[in-house]
Amino acid sequence: MTTATERVPEAMPESDGAWRSLRAFLRNPSAVIASLFLVFVTLVAIAAPLIYPEDPLSMVTRPFLWPGQNPQFPLGSDTLGRDVAAGLVWGSRISLIIGIAAMALGVTIGIVVGAAAGYFGGRIDDALVRLVEIFQTTPSFLMLIVLVAIAEPRVESITVGIALVTWPTIARLVRAEFRSLREKDFVTAARGLGYGHLRIIFIEILPNALPPIIVTSSVIVASAILMESALAFMGLGDPNRISWGSMIGAGRETLRTAWYLTAVPGVAIVLTVLALNMIGDALNDALNPRLSSER
């Protein structure tokens, strides 16, 4: 019945975890497609001044051109005769800049707070957990509106505002990781060697806590882009820059007659955010092979 060819597979050769994760990531087709799409969006954002040297806020043709009506303006024109395609290209800059910068700032704050709380424990932990709780109890988008409105809407204030409402997520995560990692043998060993707290936190523990932070970071970029677009939609975007959200806000005025003005920039947001979330999922699978293989 049983044959000699049916065998338990050989143990996998030990290989570097990072490489294995990268390979797992690249084997996931949706992750590759999503990454390629993001590369494309990034290139477009960088090359915006070359593709559309004109100010995207200037009027270039007659208003209300539907997409496909005039090959020179493939996505049509808005109520004031501005080129929708140009707006889309320039808008990608705002989305990406704010998304990435807010994530970087939020993750940095979150790591510092979470690491301090998780590593030191005790009173510091109690106080920081309370702080995180206060931030998480206030509806974050409401808080964001208040922050941005108070500081006057500009790219910088929007970025800082988004970072201020996202760091608690990272802080919770990092705190949990640090609490479990600080009990590990290698940390005890590092203490025994007389390393300072900073060294233990950043050189010994942090690299081990990185995988979940990386996964969450990609999702945070996505949610930062969503938040920026919602702010811009409500008229709290940077008034001097065109953004996907502000295009939707402007398009809303003519929703009944020219709904494409709302639809087109929305699709751009959805695709970008979808790509980021797909990458987040794929990273999660690649960095936690145990969890994904069970499924």
Partner: protein, 328 residues
């Protein structure tokens, strides 16, 4: 009896923990708003045209804006202790009155959105888990990832285009047909019709979140020994799923539900703008642009308070679902 006493202990613990959080929120929000350049006097003066230094000073004195910040904070706290949120300098009415007018609309919207998010999310997640790895799971996973990636305000606008403009099935905004003079059941139906689109737009993101959470939880629970025990009893698959799997899978889902309540309230601000829904979110947004900080502070406090109450309810629900929850 014993069960009720356990739930009471859980309730007391949650309430005690909430007190310092609430105090922190009050102080933080108060100071934050004081950082803002400009106050209600500035905006009002700007709107009335030229204003002399004297009128400005008079306005500030009337609103209590001329004393040091710390004193203002103490005044505010003592007001709060008497359950007063202060006056709106702008409208000259108590803040609580303004909020009271808007609160029911927002609460209804939230409850409806939560119900959709929970019901649809759990159904979606269970369906995905039961077909894990096969095509229904893949398709539904993609759908939920899509819901997770769509801005709520945009899907709201698209739903208006489809259901109000093109199909003319549902109203595009407001919370009731104004001047229709409907009563009874007709009125209720009219309100419901107005709520479907905004609640759906608000819920979709959370449908995705609860769907994904439920999927993971159901998969996790399905591999537990007690599920095998249930199968060994001869229970049919549906009974196993309903009685043994979902009940346990709900535990992690409800715990995390609390975290997202603040998010739903925040999302309501945008959705209320899209659908001209006369709720708290609109009020908050209007008071930001008008620098009507007493109203804004009231809304912020109330929404934090709502989140805390909702979290307490979630804690109780969790304790009721999971007999192992005890006071430490």
């Amino acid at each position: 009896m014993l069960e009720n006493r356990r739930l009471l202990r859980v309730l007391r613990r949650t309430v005690l923990q909430a007190v310092p959080t609430i105090l922190g929120i009050i102080i933080l929000n108060f100071l934050l708003l004081k950082l803002a350049p400009g106050d209600a006097a500035d905006v009002m003066a700007g709107e009335f045209g030229a204003a002399t230094e004297e009128t400005m000073a008079m306005l500030r004195q009337r609103f209590g804006l001329d004393v040091p910040v710390l004193q203002q904070l103490l005044a505010y706290l003592s007001n709060l202790a008497q359950f007063s949120l202060g006056q709106s300098p702008r409208y000259g009415v108590p803040v609580s009155e303004l909020i009271g007018q808007r609160l029911p609309s927002t609460l209804m919207l939230m409850v409806m959105a939560l119900a959709i998010a929970f019901g649809l999310g759990i159904a979606l997640g269970t369906a995905m888990a039961l077909t894990a790895g096969r095509w229904p799971d893949r398709v539904l996973s993609l759908v939920s990832l899509f819901f997770y990636s769509v801005p709520g305000f945009w899907i709201g606008l698209m739903l208006i285009v489809l259901f109000s403009v093109k199909l003319n099935w549902l109203p595009s905004g407001g919370q009731e047909t104004i001047g229709a003079g409907l009563t009874g059941l007709d009125y209720a139906l009219d309100r419901l019709k107005h709520m479907i689109l905004p609640a759906t737009s608000l819920a979709l993101f959370y449908v995705a979140i609860y769907g994904r959470l439920t999927r993971a939880a159901v998969l996790e629970v399905s591999s537990q020994d007690y599920v095998r025990t249930a199968a060994a009893k001869g229970l049919p698959p549906l009974a196993i799923t309903l009685r043994h799997v979902i009940r346990n899978a709900l535990l992690p889902v409800t715990t995390l539900a609390g975290i997202h309540l603040g998010g739903i309230l925040g999302g309501a601000v945008v959705i209320e703008t899209v659908y001209s829904w006369p709720g708290l979110g609109r009020l908050a947004f209007e008071s930001v642009t008008r620098r009507d900080f007493n109203v804004l502070l009231g809304v912020l406090l109330l929404s934090s308070f709502l989140v805390i109450i909702a979290n307490t309810l979630v804690d109780l629900l969790h304790a009721w679902l999971d007999p192992r929850v005890e006071v430490r």
